[in-house]
Symmetry: D2
Subunit: 340 residues, 4 copies
Amino acid sequence: MKSESTNLRVCVVGAGKMGADHIERLTRRIAGAEVSVVVDADISRAKKAVEATPPAVAVSNIGQALDRGDVNAVLIATPGFLHRDMLLQVREQDLPILCEKPLTPDAPSSWEILEAEQRLGKKRIQVGFMRRFDAEYQRLRAIITSGDLGELLMLHCSHRVPETPHDFTNEMLINDAVVHEFDVIRYLTGEEIKNVQVRLGRASRHSHSGQHDPQHVLLEIQNGVLADVEIFVNTKFGYQVATQAVFEEGIVNIGEDGGPYVRSAGRWGGEITPTFVERFGRAFDTEVQRWVNAAKIGEVGGPTAWDGYATAACCEAGVAAQKSGEKVDVSLKTKPSIYN
Amino acid sequence: MKSESTNLRVCVVGAGKMGADHIERLTRRIAGAEVSVVVDADISRAKKAVEATPPAVAVSNIGQALDRGDVNAVLIATPGFLHRDMLLQVREQDLPILCEKPLTPDAPSSWEILEAEQRLGKKRIQVGFMRRFDAEYQRLRAIITSGDLGELLMLHCSHRVPETPHDFTNEMLINDAVVHEFDVIRYLTGEEIKNVQVRLGRASRHSHSGQHDPQHVLLEIQNGVLADVEIFVNTKFGYQVATQAVFEEGIVNIGEDGGPYVRSAGRWGGEITPTFVERFGRAFDTEVQRWVNAAKIGEVGGPTAWDGYATAACCEAGVAAQKSGEKVDVSLKTKPSIYN
Amino acid sequence: MKSESTNLRVCVVGAGKMGADHIERLTRRIAGAEVSVVVDADISRAKKAVEATPPAVAVSNIGQALDRGDVNAVLIATPGFLHRDMLLQVREQDLPILCEKPLTPDAPSSWEILEAEQRLGKKRIQVGFMRRFDAEYQRLRAIITSGDLGELLMLHCSHRVPETPHDFTNEMLINDAVVHEFDVIRYLTGEEIKNVQVRLGRASRHSHSGQHDPQHVLLEIQNGVLADVEIFVNTKFGYQVATQAVFEEGIVNIGEDGGPYVRSAGRWGGEITPTFVERFGRAFDTEVQRWVNAAKIGEVGGPTAWDGYATAACCEAGVAAQKSGEKVDVSLKTKPSIYN
Amino acid sequence: MKSESTNLRVCVVGAGKMGADHIERLTRRIAGAEVSVVVDADISRAKKAVEATPPAVAVSNIGQALDRGDVNAVLIATPGFLHRDMLLQVREQDLPILCEKPLTPDAPSSWEILEAEQRLGKKRIQVGFMRRFDAEYQRLRAIITSGDLGELLMLHCSHRVPETPHDFTNEMLINDAVVHEFDVIRYLTGEEIKNVQVRLGRASRHSHSGQHDPQHVLLEIQNGVLADVEIFVNTKFGYQVATQAVFEEGIVNIGEDGGPYVRSAGRWGGEITPTFVERFGRAFDTEVQRWVNAAKIGEVGGPTAWDGYATAACCEAGVAAQKSGEKVDVSLKTKPSIYN
């Protein structure tokens, strides 16, 4: 095996902020991969992106990229509404895919993707729920699995973001933010979510028009565990993602603050992680490294299309619950065997 | 003024664990009071109690104590179901009263006490919600009142107790434990609680028969603030009472762990407060000192009979919500003017 | 026994800040004592002090107070240079004494006090090293004594004060600040200090003229334990007294920060204790309560005149070490048997 | 530029624990490098190492590796006493070198390396002081440089290791452990160390024969800052490297504990980092990535041979101070201009 042959040649689709970050990651931070093509409908953006990764070329649609024949994996970092068509197109060439979340914006279109995978008979799509690669979530899951503190009984989650764009709607609170909590709760418990309820109380004066922020989202898990999520996307103070797990014989918190500890001007403490980049940057690296390693041997190294579908179903229930104020059941089709 | 005249001469009713603790407190830890009479239907228990507080005498009912004429304040530390009659009897002599929570076990009988106070036209009863004298609750309230972090939006409370007697029922989870949360949430927000919902999920294997433990109690406050309380009374790991307050521009936690910080045997950390005595012992001292100071000048130094009544109404709604699984409104009569 | 007879009638000498605080404490915060006389050479200051403690009278010298015959204990809160004469005078009447630190400003005069106590054959003087009544120091001592973490090997102490008066000299750094560390190190280890070395490095620009601040004080204890003290009296950021104890099998820190935990404006953390009052206020209450309780039965409830003498000897060595930069031995006479 | 040409082809010398870790890192965790040759006098160990990095070949001496012509960088991970000869040999071919610490075991031989670099007129050697790539040390340095808290006055360092091999001598405490503190203190302050003193107190019963553990190392920095290092290599409890920096207007701690926060069995807290691998694993990755990036453009991406030489001189002074108990000056030649 020659060394140049070992690198996965990746086509990155979408050269926006997230895509550019993945290009940088593939090129300078992880092993065994190189960017081969960058696709963006805005070709000038694609061209700018390839400047930092010399051998790569810029094209304006995925078809052109696949036609080149020197691509052996695809990383999709476009807005979610474009995912369905692209996934189906790439799926035809049977390439390994890392698809940023969401798999698709709704459960029916996600189910179509699952059907396409089933026709091919194997999993090729990894969905970008990067929290599963965070060391603390992994350690919490290990504690749950070990049974050392007895059974898990409750999960208290908070997801706090300093601010949102002005067009960030109520639905996006669920679809873009709480979706991560849906996935990690499924990851931690190893069970699906049964139903969702949303409580709207006093809204922050920093809520944008069309937004009721914060919200209190209540979940029941199939095994009876109760979870609740405080979603708050205009906190002003900084970024914070934390979970408190309540066991029969103990309590575990992850997402605690850290870093240099300063005493000055009458206060003790430290700096809060400003954005998800600082909080989960390392998890992104690990996610992509695992995907690259798995792709080379024809496997998936993380959450699958099923996880994309199941969270899409949770989001649908969540948005309905936001509107009705009632408990809404999550409706899932039977899990296809390739995802077991 | 002679020094002996400055001491408040207190009749302590109930010489059980809580009564004995108050006798010790009045005698050896706070200023300006002395125990004059100890009342207990079990006269041998009363006699044992007075050994530690020499000039005091032991009697077997409150009437005997009041007849002696050397009592100028009453501290009630008997089980709650005895409070109503005793409060009405003491009320006739117009003595200052410190009544351990609950004021009475239900809202209608609590309302009778309020009517008796109104007939006399002044507040004489202080209810033993000692958390209001805890430095951290006081500082959290000051932060809320200051508006420094914007408006308060949510309160996440947890109330964890290592274990309970075998006859500690589901109703007692609300009436004996969550009642403290009802009171501090009212204290912190300065508002009444509108409704209560209770979620029952997976129960701990340490739950006693007749108990579903833990429970997740959801509250809405009159000003729109959402609160939730995790009540868990068989935690095994230790005692913990904590509140996280969510503001428009910040988050505040109280009830964090403290004390000596140890690194040994592969772990960092410290000891958890084992019981409410260690956690709130100082608050009890402050509570009784404030009551003594206020009683000497004919005032009440803490939560009033109204607070006892309002929390009794919350408990009624809580127990109904436990049974129905639905949101139950808290029904309060109009607040009599002497409590404003 | 009548109740009025149970109160210790205390003569407080010195009505400055510390004296006023003790008067408030004896009158309103602890049990079993009352202020009988307040002595201050500035009679107007004494008169002002007694206003808050009605039955007490104000006089301008200790002789007048003792002549009144209604005093059965003395609390000395004057500057240290006045202590020797006053202690000898009170000692003649065989009254229990609580003497604020230092016992006297130097070892020879402290030794005179010890000789006076020996002539009477019993301990009557308690010295105001209040840290011994702090819960954390007590817990650290219990860990040391238990041997649970093996033998104690090192102590790293820091003593940080926000600012000092302009006339606070280099010698006062040792005599007024490090003196507390000398005492607690002796308390924690149960051993005397063998020698002292002082390192002067870079001085803060906030050091006053005549002060080299901070300093690094190195100690060897008789049992071989090494200790070091960072003394820093113009920290600006707040007050902090902390000790880290290094054992064969673990590390223990006391004096960690606590209180409400706030996330706001990009920072996590809380408020630093501003002064020794907040940090050690409760220890002062406990100290005086123990003294009162012990005085009533003819005993001493805390550090003795020997502790005052031994720390005076450490201070002498410390000041010499500051000047020479060399290691200076602490010279102690044989401990009289009444102090064992 | 073809993609295969972009990879740095590294010859790794030494296939022991540290070498194997670097091979894994170059192959699977960082970008832009591949292992070309593995050298180990024990050829079977070299052969085993290359199994995990397919295109690489195994040889038994550095000469063979350099003769192959397909190596364009060398990473030295052999014991320190072999470094001098190897560095001089590789230096002749003008290849970029990452040399694990120490540069060489003593100052004179380190100086020879500097002379060799000067003859070639450019820096090619990076020394493996990986702490400089740790995020917390970098943030502390940024705080120092910013002046936001005023001038730096003192550094309190602790370096705690759970256990050592039985032949880990007193000299190795300085040369293998404190050497890291020497380097980071130089890194943090940007100044050289003036002198070293060592205090030996009570030794742990876990000290091996020939070891006096722990020790207290005192340093003075050229700019007057005082530092002290607790070096303790048989702590049993776990691994801990921490620094507390004392500024004119604040205190900063790095190396605090983190990770999941657990409350169970009467204790709160979490797991201590067991070894340097968990504590500094990410810093190692960053170090090697920076070296690779810099090597490709003919530069050095971290501490230089001068840092290797200066710390060797500190170690010499440290070992002498251990023996004499006196303050020993660090003797440094003038810094050659290529290191400025």
